[in-house]
Symmetry: C2
Subunit: 347 residues, 2 copies
Amino acid sequence: MRATTIHAPFDMRVEDVPDPVIQRPTDVVLRVLRACICGSDLWAYRGESARQPGQRIGHEFLGVVEEAGSEVSGFAPGDLVVAPFVWSDGTCDYCHEGLQTSCPQGGFWGSVGSDGGQGEAVRVPFADGTLVKLPADAASDDRLLTALLALSDVLGTGHHAALGAGVRPGSTVAVVGDGAVGLCGVLAAKRLGAERIIALGRHTARTDIARTFGATDVVAERGEAAEAAVRELTGGQGAHAVIEAVGTEQSMRTAVAITRDGGAIGYVGVPHGSGTGLDLSVMFDRNIALRGGVAPVRAYIPELLPDVLNGTVDPSPVFDLTVGLDGVPAGYKSMDERTALKVLVKP
Amino acid sequence: MRATTIHAPFDMRVEDVPDPVIQRPTDVVLRVLRACICGSDLWAYRGESARQPGQRIGHEFLGVVEEAGSEVSGFAPGDLVVAPFVWSDGTCDYCHEGLQTSCPQGGFWGSVGSDGGQGEAVRVPFADGTLVKLPADAASDDRLLTALLALSDVLGTGHHAALGAGVRPGSTVAVVGDGAVGLCGVLAAKRLGAERIIALGRHTARTDIARTFGATDVVAERGEAAEAAVRELTGGQGAHAVIEAVGTEQSMRTAVAITRDGGAIGYVGVPHGSGTGLDLSVMFDRNIALRGGVAPVRAYIPELLPDVLNGTVDPSPVFDLTVGLDGVPAGYKSMDERTALKVLVKP
């Protein structure tokens, strides 16, 4: 089959690789219908996260089961399924608690020896613990299929951030980060009943989506000016729930500064940089909590799926560029240069 | 009156100072029956927190109302009352939410221009918002009076840490810090239904109190050996709820290391040191939350008071040395040298 590989920073290729086959009786082989490029893939693209030459990439995909191992009970050839961005065994303590990202047998698509989502097919370990079935008729609805793809990562990650930030009905929420995850954080906050949602961002194409998703206010300033603007919008107090969807020291500093005393930061931006951006003395004096991390999206798919299916939650606008498999390297370039928000891949 | 003053690091004095008087109609003047020395007072004592020469000190006390301002409705001369370690107006948003430590009109005993608890009397601003009445007959019960004094700080702070750590019935809890707050964290965790409480500490006088308070296990090792010991006690996973009651980088590092994936650190140790001790990448990968800060003990006193009155919660063993007012400087020395755990002051 053909799949995307990364050979060095900025050197993405689409190459012939071995077809995936069932290796264990709990595996499924899945033909990819939709995949996409994640903001976090750019860390590898830019060389900021190390990869071995030729390693696969892509951790967001949905598709059709082609073959199921002898011990797979939940899926059969022909089933339409979505995969979360890590696989998990579905049987350990952590999986039972809904923290599948901590499953000792879990793993990340594209890690050495595994397939990635940006290819024609994927061998899925622990299929029963990992995959979630989708209605078969969704396969013929292009818009819906795109929306469902967001369940593999960005929608569940935005939901995780909103939960971490403690969003409740009536909350005032601020969202740091105007990428696909930040925008899905807006969507998730709206879904959880937030009354006021302040989106920080200065790219109108993105903040327009934020408004569509439920943002009531947009702050285009950066740094201290942004902090002042959020304080002004919140009677000087800041937002009770702050979603941090970037992962840099600066974004975390901003998040701390705009959180109301007693509030919480829900952070889902993969931490980068040598420092944390956290001023613990400030957080201590103001009782600001920090909750979040890698999102156990597998736990959230069953809860979010009905709302995506009935259209009350539609994350599909975050995909603003569509490519075929051969267009993946150009897709990385577009996202790296911020000319594309999130690239949809139709292999 | 006579009161404790701090003139320079290690230079504590007991001096004649002006008698407190009603300055505002919302004030009360209170005669101190019991006060104590806090581990956080030692930061000033050691010169690690700056003080102006002659500044008062002491933020934990209870006593009898001597005089009440004309607008004070809740208290009259003769009332036995306990003060939390900050005063607060009782009327703002934060006070209504139970986050009195963020009250814009609030303040800290012993700050410039205010009385401290380690003296004969205190002018209490915003008495109605600050003080909590105690049963009059408690004044004649020496042991009970000492236990009630813990409501001014350490018991409520331990409770705040336990809440921040997410202690629930059945929880496995680990407590970093064997000072009075850490021990009260054990007591609070037990009260909230923790099934297993692992106390980290190597001073048997302290860990013996921890066992009395409900600790089921004691880990005497430090650093990586302590982390390994906690992991071994918890099936390799760590504790779901970790109380951090020290405030150093090392203690926070230990707290992160022994927290179970998906768990939380409730931190109440006043942060000291240039770094945070937080490895955000580890916390991200393992979904470890951080919640806590300066404890709004005013909010907790009404909840904790009945259990102290009926004896089901008895923090009095944390006080292991009693002095009169003139003995306060020696009391600081004893706590600094760790020959005393917590010093009770009977002015």
